[in-house]
């Protein structure tokens, strides 16, 4: 009785705790700028065309088949996305800007699941979370326009971002607790030696067996501990150095684009408000033409920027889902790395070296005549690569092929696939039951029985 009272008390006290608006402002500006750069970078590399405009076929997320590529208008979508990111950074019409950013970015990601990356998923859900946070309370054009700048925001709004970053790291660490990663140093044992080009390290450390194990184990420990090291004031500085070193190291080794920078910038949120204020002061001095502190808002509010209760509850539900969702794989039989049922959206990063080939056979059930499909007729190299080792892709593509040849006038169509997949250096083995007519099988969240079971065991989470 006393305990629950106490809890209730603590809970309402926590909700009333306040923190500096500068912390949220720094995160908002950093996030907006990083997203803006990401979009420009993506555009300049020509990927809008190669990934979204020119492919004739796109792999869809189950339930999101209605999301279509927009042809050349896809560029407009990117323009909207980049521009809204810029507005987020400025804090101009913040709420609308972040909603537009979330919707446009997520729409882009939903167009084709062969481009799925954990860090895109992170951007999507982080921007969703930001819809409910008062990130324009302080140091924003919105504040200037309403002539009211709030110095404080509820503490939970800053904690929410920390929690999200903490989940990303911690779950990525949990996923590394498996026998391939820890006891075989896989897939780092395959990846690191192939970096023999890197000056000095390439032919020395990268080739050392002990180094592969050291990296595997320290990577796991790093991911699990870093949220707590960042939270604790005593260890925060060294933790941030570790964040920078770790992410720059992965940047050198792997083609992971903007992700390291986003995580480094994001981790600044863990510091004290005084540092955030310094950053704001620095920004305002740099961008003010009169080289003075940018102080356009005379009415400073020492009151906390009010946030609706509904926003708080939404964030609570959001995190409940975030914490539970990665465990959905437990509901499926078979090896997760093999079937990938429940693999995505779970912070399983760089865990597998997986390759496959899939040869599709179109059979006329009446005459038993058949022919094989040349995948490059329909898929881009990236799509073919992703399709070859993920069952949901294989099924979707089988249906696409069935429909395609039906339209061409073929009859009694059956679609079979002869496929092999190699996982983490094991010899390739048959992947999909080649006697199953995939054209008859339906996509669902149920276990796909036509995946040939993995003939080895990977222990762990």
């Amino acid at each position: 009785m006393f305990f629950t009272e106490n809890m209730k008390l603590n809970y309402s006290k926590y909700l009333e705790k306040k923190a500096s608006g500068a912390s949220l402002a720094v995160f908002r500006i950093g996030f907006g700028i990083m997203m803006c750069i990401s979009i420009i970078r993506f555009w300049s590399k020509g990927w809008i065309d190669t990934l979204y405009v020119s492919p004739t076929f796109h792999f869809k997320y189950f339930g999101f088949e209605w999301v279509k590529a927009l042809g050349t208008y896809t560029y407009v979508l990117f323009l909207i996305c980049g521009f809204s990111a810029f507005l987020v950074a400025l804090g101009y019409k913040y709420r609308i800007a972040i909603i537009v950013f979330f919707l446009s970015f997520t729409y882009i990601e939903l167009i084709d699941k062969s481009t799925y990356l954990n860090h895109y998923y992170f951007v999507s859900i982080a921007s969703f979370l930001m819809i409910f946070l008062p990130a324009n309370a302080y140091f924003s054009i919105d504040a200037v326009k309403r002539k009211k700048e709030y110095l404080y925001v509820p503490k939970w709004t800053i904690d929410a971002i920390k929690l999200l970053l903490g989940i990303v790291y911690f779950y990525a660490g949990l996923a590394k607790i498996n026998s391939d990663w820890l006891f075989k140093a896989m897939p780092l044992k395959i990846w690191l030696p192939s970096k023999y080009d890197i000056p000095v390290l390439g032919t020395t450390l990268m080739q050392e067996n002990w180094f592969h194990y050291a990296m595997s184990w320290s990577g796991m420990i790093y991911d699990l501990c870093i949220p707590f090291l960042l939270l604790c004031k005593k260890t925060r500085n060294i933790a941030f150095v570790l964040v920078v070193v770790f992410h720059l190291f992965t940047r050198i080794l792997f083609p992971i684009g903007m992700f390291p920078y986003i995580m480094i910038v994001g981790s600044i949120i863990f510091f004290d408000a005084s540092l955030h204020q310094k950053i704001i002061d620095f920004v305002s001095r740099t961008f003010n033409p009169f080289k003075r502190k940018w102080d356009l808002v005379t009415r400073k509010q020492t009151a906390v920027k009010p946030v609706k209760k509904l926003a708080f509850y939404t964030v609570v539900v959001f995190f409940a889902i975030q914490l539970l969702f990665p465990w959905r794989y437990l509901a499926y039989p078979g090896e997760l790395f093999w079937t990938e049922e429940g693999y995505r959206f779970s912070w399983r990063v760089m865990l597998m070296e997986k390759m496959g080939v899939a040869n599709f056979k179109i059979v006329d059930a009446k005459t038993n005549k058949f022919f094989y499909v040349d995948n490059s007729d329909f898929l881009t190299p990236l799509q073919e690569k992703q399709m070859s080792f993920q069952p949901d892709f294989i099924l979707e593509y089988a249906h696409f092929l069935g429909n395609h040849f039906k339209k061409q006038g073929h009859k009694n169509i059956q679609v079979f696939v002869d496929s092999y997949v190699a996982l983490n250096g094991r010899l390739s083995q048959p992947f999909i039951d080649k006697s199953v007519n995939l054209y008859q099988e339906k996509e669902s969240f149920k276990h796909k029985k036509w995946i040939v079971p993995f003939n080895d065991e990977i222990k762990g989470l």
Partner: protein, 364 residues
């Protein structure tokens, strides 16, 4: 404050770099595999000797062609045909190396695109003016065009000889053969003068390095040039019905098996690092796999090469006859060849962890 952090980070990074060399216990097999040695072996003992042999065979082809044009009789036709076949056999050892000058001038596209387009060939002969290097003429030149010109222009040898009373036929045959020889010289000169050195030192793990391109070229050739073009496509594996007229050297119609076996030998030799013109063996994908402790894969691939050879040996000399009489044997040969597509494309590529040349996007 932020600056300080970055400073510390950079110092830390340098520290990890410099402290690496002293404390490694054993250095034996942990050193990076010597990719240059593979490239040297491939260049000096496989590619260049095969090209030189091809060049010699094409010179012989040219000589016999000149004799035939001067006197189009049965003796000269027979000699010309046999030198065509010897050159075609050597070509099987050259086709997969679509790299350097060969890639630049689309060498293999001008040497062995089949089926030959009779329409294009006859139109060229008729008009008497043509640009043999033009992409539209890729299916009207090279070995398949000569196949048609020597075996297919008329119903029997007597009728064929009659055709060559026409100077237009003489000219076209001559131009096609000369062109094949000139292209080969261009490729070989580039190898011997400059490209060899570029090639052997290009070992980085990037999409454009010679080492990575060579792996990709080899696998592409095995899958497309050998498995699909020579066996799969004519057997009807990619179409509703078999296409017996798609076999290599269709107009000769007796050597498709010989050429396929030769191509398989070439692929095996390359994989194992066997020299083209001697019995010596050098650094190769086999030694690369062994350095990665992956002898199991190496022996699996060689077993599958032998398996494919057995199946091909069961076929008739003429694949088009085989397809018309018993196509299942043909598809069995295809299935046997397919096994190594999996081992090379999935297992070997994963073991080498080669950056592939076509996927350009961020990873996770």
């Amino acid at each position: 404050m932020i600056k300080k952090f970055f400073l510390v980070a950079v110092i830390f990074l340098f520290y990890t770099c410099s402290s690496s060399s002293d404390d490694s216990p054993e250095k034996k097999k942990e050193d990076s595999f010597d990719r240059e040695a593979v490239l040297v072996n491939v260049a000096d003992n496989i590619i260049i000797p095969a090209l030189e042999d091809l060049s010699q065979k094409l010179v012989a082809l040219k000589t016999n062609k000149d004799a035939f044009i001067a006197t189009p009789d049965q003796t000269n036709l027979d000699a010309l045909r046999s030198s065509w076949l010897s050159a075609y056999e050597v070509w099987q050892h050259v086709e997969m190396f679509n790299i350097g000058k060969a890639e630049e001038i689309l060498y293999s596209f001008q040497m062995n695109i089949y089926p030959v387009s009779i329409t294009d060939v006859e139109a060229n002969i008729d008009s008497g003016s043509y640009d043999l290097t033009h992409v539209n003429n890729n299916d009207a030149v090279g070995f398949p065009a000569v196949d048609y010109l020597l075996y297919g222009v008329a119903a029997d040898d007597a009728a064929i000889l009659v055709k060559y009373e026409d100077v237009k036929y003489k000219n076209y045959l001559s131009d096609v053969v000369n062109q094949m020889d000139a292209l080969t010289d261009e490729v070989i000169n580039d190898w011997t003068t400059s490209y060899r050195d570029t090639f052997i030192s290009s070992t980085s793990n990037t999409a454009s390095s010679a080492y990575n391109k060579l792996v990709n070229d080899f696998i592409f050739y095995y899958e497309k040039g050998l498995r699909a073009n020579k066996v799969g496509t004519p057997a009807g594996n990619f179409s509703a019905n078999p296409l017996p007229d798609r076999v290599e050297a269709f107009y000769n119609n007796e050597v498709s098996k010989t050429l396929t076996l030769e191509a398989l030998t070439a692929a095996e030799n390359f994989f194992n690092g066997n020299a083209y013109n001697s019995s010596s063996t050098g650094e190769s994908y086999v030694t690369h796999l062994k350095s990665l402790d992956n002898s199991a894969l190496e022996s699996l691939i060689n077993t599958q090469f032998s398996g494919a050879r057995e199946k091909i040996n069961e076929l008739e000399n003429s694949f088009s006859n085989q397809i018309n009489t018993d196509n299942t044997k043909m598809t069995q040969a295809y299935d046997a060849l397919q096994l190594n597509v999996v081992s090379l494309k999935v297992d070997m590529l994963q073991a080498f962890n080669v950056s592939v040349d076509y996927v350009d996007a961020d990873g996770d």
